[in-house]
Amino acid sequence: MSQSTTLFDKIWDGHTVKSIENGPSVLYIDRHYIHEVTSPVAFLGLEKRRLSVANPQKTTATPDHNIPTQDQHLTIQDALSRHQVDKLMKNCKNHNIPLYGLNHKWQGIVHVIGPELGLTQPGMTIVCGDSHTSTHGAFGCVAFGIGTSEVEMVLGTQCIMQPKPKKMRIKIDGVLSKGVTAKDIALYIISQISTSGGTGHFIEYAGSAIEGLTMEGRMTLCNMSIESGARGGLIAPDQTTFEYLKNKEFSPKDQKWEDAMAKWALLKSDKDASFHKEYLFHAQDIEPMITFGTNPGMGTGVTGHIPLAASLAESERVTYEKSLHYMGFSDGDKLHGKSIDYVFVGSCTNGRIEDLREFSHFIKGKKKAENITAWIVPGSKQVELQAQEEGLLAILEDAGFELRQPGCSACLAMNDDKIPAGKYAVSTSNRNFEGRQGPGARTLLASPLVAAACAISGKITDPREYLN
């Protein structure tokens, strides 16, 4: 009998072409996503070595990071961004890599389009030159972000070299309270284990609260795995996964679908498989969350207070005080009721149809607060279209919001969607680092529901006040 193994081990070991003694594994990659920012230097490297792309059909490209979210039919105004997007198009053409360009009906944020096209499938190894590749773990994949040198390795050989991470399991049992979403679970976990708590590990999320999440919710949670320092996070595929994937563009069809489901159903950790680290949290302890500092671990329940500096170890205080100073907050401050300026809904964390649905249903029949500038950015062209078809666009417009065009947008502000210096933005994205949303911008990470409540009231608000 073979030893009990985790889902992670099964996928990793099943893709190991070779193990180097005391060294990294040579890992075969099933699916590679690329975008305009982290790929050009990799293509340049290939050209210098006179290499071709080993397996162009296993790579999928789309521009997302620095494209505008308005007037996408026009030429990109920013010369550097335009050049990078052009370069992606040229590179893909030269190497026969499928590309969904700016006006293609499948364009969007790379981590949104992969799943919605059915390119991401259970049991795969998936990489992309973007740390939020962990998103795809929601389908029971070993998916993680890589650097540009590694993008070159995958293009050139379909393999990368990686030290095998340790395994961690995070179980969340129970039922989430009303107004609490996958984003809150993610922010809660990181506030508990810190932004380095997962470093060196690959997380498996399990427990009844996880099983109860939709695929969109699972993607949000796995997406944020990297914010705990983990290489990635995955969830064993189940009926929810299969229903999501059925009839997607690149999902297997007919008999192949049946065969695939039978294979995918085996993808789970053995009952007595062991992990290097385990955490257990209870769903009922999780509130709608919001961050107050400059890393995603600096979060609290939306009704909470900013912890006192004195409660921290002395070595951590300098960084903590620097962070609060940047945010314009004082320790001990109550967050609820603080005035904000911007609301951003979008990104690979919360730019999917369910996120727009939650936001729209919440604000339906209400009006955007006058002091708020809101950017609602769909994660893909398909999400945009679906939002129109479901009538979400009309709801948003009635309430004073506008829907922009798909892209990474204000999550990392490489395009014009920058939060001005000193302004407060409640954002459904994944990082509240200094300057992340624009130089001097002050980011408060939250769920689409919290963002909706804040957009209506103009200040930090608990969505549960409206839900009851």
Binding site: I20, P24, P40, S149, I160, M161, R431
Partner: protein
């Protein structure tokens, strides 16, 4: 491309006493628009180094004349966040060959090693000792020996052993990169693909 060999260096160091230095600080996203690997050092720590009017912020360590050298000493959890290899490029392009911290984020560590930038992980007590040595003498030197896997505080002769994966060590010593190795495995990869 083959990376520059790393064997040993002796140098003074620049202390950045901040924890959780994320890659957005090392190189902000708006400077990631290049299509070639050039000039990233100019924008290393851009928003900590320069104010809104592009004037140097005088008390940021990289701007303080008293600090210099090829070694950067950072606080705990260095390199967290984005996978951008531009962070490693920026540090290397600026002139750093070694980054020391009590904890590194995984992707950053991999990116650094793939570019000939040596991440040296020490304990938090050792990190404090290193910062103290710089406090005593801003030009205090440190010796980094990759063959012996030692980081020495020269003033006190304190020798700190550090870990590095033997494969990665060999790559740095020889100036090899992973893709050279992967290309040598073409046959094994083809066999793996045929079994799929």
């Amino acid at each position: 491309m083959p990376i520059e060999k790393f064997i040993k260096i002796q140098s003074s160091a620049v202390p950045v006493r901040i924890e959780n230095v994320d890659t957005d600080q090392i190189i902000p996203a708006r400077f990631l628009k290049a299509v070639e690997r050039k000039g990233f050092g100019d924008n290393l720590f851009r928003d900590w180094r320069y104010d809104k009017s592009n004037n140097p912020i005088s008390d940021f360590p990289l701007n303080e004349i008293k600090y210099s050298g090829q070694i950067l000493i950072g606080g705990k959890n260095f390199g967290s966040g984005s996978s951008r290899e531009h962070a490693a490029w920026a540090l290397y392009d600026y002139g750093f060959k070694v980054v020391v911290s009590s904890f590194f984020a995984d992707i950053f560590k991999g990116n650094a090693l793939n570019n000939g930038l040596l991440p040296v992980q020490v304990t938090s007590a050792e990190l404090s000792e290193i910062f103290e040595a710089i406090d005593m003498d801003t030009q205090a030197t440190f010796s980094v020996d990759l063959v012996q896997q030692t980081f020495t505080i020269d003033a006190s002769d304190k020798v700190i052993d550090f870990e590095i994966n033997p494969y990665k060590k060999e790559c740095l010593l020889q100036g090899y990169d992973d893709i050279d190795y992967l290309l040598s495995l073409k046959k094994e990869i083809a066999v793996f693909e045929s079994k799929e």
